[in-house]
Subunit: 321 residues, 2 copies
């Protein structure tokens, strides 16, 4: 189930039909800034039922899972958004769900998981990272595991975003995708490469933890410096090694932005386009506003909007970062 | 150009084709609250290029205006959002535009009008109300006037929202529409009455200024108490008398909400659905959450999202109201 080559277009197209009844076909709207360095468009995945794109991949993977195995229950390892995606579908299907989350996951995401009826297991970073790397959490080993990033069916679900963008804006020049584990960017890039290979797909990262940029600079996965911040949906010390070959092949580069630029993009999205992005989801917009993807027609994937109201309030009033 | 009977369906359908290239076909998404008293849906007009539905009516009216008259320039009387709608189209068409605004209009709306290249004339409430009632502002009498509410072509443009909702959710039971001047609710109700007469269309108002509720209670337009608040896009002392016959005929009633309920709806929309509504735009959601439109399938028109970041920050942190 590891990704060594791009997700086949047929798998992405099949995923699209499979999730049509549950995921929203999100709108692509123009960023309302006239003096931007590019023609910037926003793919609003924050409008999904669970507030992030994760509903797509989780839905596709669970639709393809053996129903007998699925009936025992599912679990995932997620800082929050993937857990919401899996929990949302588990509730819909009437099966038990457990989210193995980082003990630093924000309250709003935990509350949302609980509202969806899932159980939460909160563990320290090193243990959690082991689950992500080994695809297994021993106490839940009898359940069906859905990897938040590198599961091929999850990535195919993510790739449906690429199909929709290409339908709405076939003449685009570039796409910028927030890079957490790489499943979103590589899923989208698989679709884009198959249909419009001249379109560049960039990752966006935040400078307080940009392991893809570090790996690209070193030519191999390497340890990056990391500090927790309000950008809690992406950012870590290292890329997932199982994703590195694909990310290296499919992505045009990593555009690194600062916390200030990210907060400023969050404010801009609120004021000009009246949508709420979480920090991770705004890094793509921050990168486009810096001109990182050139001066053409640039689509920014606003991957999610799950941010505490109190935290957003502080960003809007300039107290964060 | 005054509205005495519903806008004909053909006029609304023609408006839809006319504005297809400029207005966004906005999404209808489910309010992410499981224990709500109804199945609540959100029609996201805050995602329009200018942050409100006004782009529809302004676009239709200007497309239908005599080009020779239009070339002299346009003006409107607007607390902000209609001015943005007219200015946005004027810039697109390359004609001068002036906005006659209330001197209390919020800074974010004035800044947006200025960014769109329009001039601003700021006048006191009584003078401004006279422009709204007489359809004329003497110093600009040589220009083409577009009434923000009762212009039939503006209302036909607003009615296109009704067509889209019915396409997406034909089985809905009710629609709730923020009531400012009545042009939005009566436009939508015209489309709905023609196609699905059993669907109820309600107005929503805020208790600090609810002239439609007062008029419906008295059986005739009457003076309502009024206090300015963060809900600056609707609310006044009296209904426009020229709109009263139509509003009385088409609307199922006025659902009045408090400032607290409205602020709470603004917060909920941010936290659960990751969109920003201005106060006016959230009154429909507040009304649905009170159960005002019954327990069926209820569509709330989120009419706009133009709110100062500082004000939104205060609402999110509980400092407003």
């Amino acid at each position: 189930m590891q990704a060594r080559e791009p997700i086949p277009l047929e798998a992405i197209r099949a995923a699209r039909e499979r999730i049509a009844g549950s995921a929203v076909r999100t709108p692509l709207i123009r960023l309302a800034v006239d003096d931007a360095p590019a023609e910037i468009w926003l793919k609003l995945e924050n409008l999904q039922p669970i507030g992030s794109f994760k509903v797509r991949g989780a839905g596709n993977a669970m639709a393809l899972a053996d129903p007998t195995l699925l009936a025992r229950g599912v679990y995932t390892a997620s800082a929050g958004n993937m857990a919401q995606g899996v929990a949302w579908h588990a509730r819909r299907l009437g099966i038990p769900c457990t989210a193995v989350v980082l003990e630093t996951a924000p309250e709003t995401k935990l509350a949302a998981i609980t509202r969806l009826g899932a159980e939460i297991v909160s563990i320290p970073f090193d243990d959690w990272w082991k689950v992500v790397v080994t695809h297994r959490y021993e106490p839940l080993a009898d359940r069906y595991f859905i990897h938040p990033v590198s599961d091929l069916n999850v990535m195919a679900g993510n790739g449906t975003i690429g199909l929709e963008i290409l339908e709405d804006l076939p003449d685009m020049d570039a796409v910028i995708v927030p890079y957490g584990g790489g499943g979103l960017s590589c899923g989208i890039a698989s679709a884009v490469q198959a249909l419009r290979p001249m379109v560049k797909v960039y990752a966006s990262e935040v400078e307080t933890g940009a392991p893809l940029a570090a790996a690209l600079a070193a030519g191999t996965p390497t340890e990056a410096s990391y500090e927790p911040s309000f950008v809690d949906g992406i950012s870590s010390r290292s890329v997932l090694s199982e994703m590195w070959p694909l990310a290296k092949e499919l992505l045009a580069g990593s555009l690194v932005v600062s916390l200030e630029e990210t907060a400023s993009a969050v404010r801009l999205l609120v004021e000009r386009n009246h949508v709420v992005a979480e920090g991770a989801g705004a890094t793509s917009v921050a990168a486009a506003l810096k001109g990182g993807a050139g001066a053409g027609s640039v689509v920014c994937v606003v991957s999610g909007g799950n941010i505490d109201a109190a935290k957003l309030s502080k960003i809007l009033s300039g107290q964060i970062p």
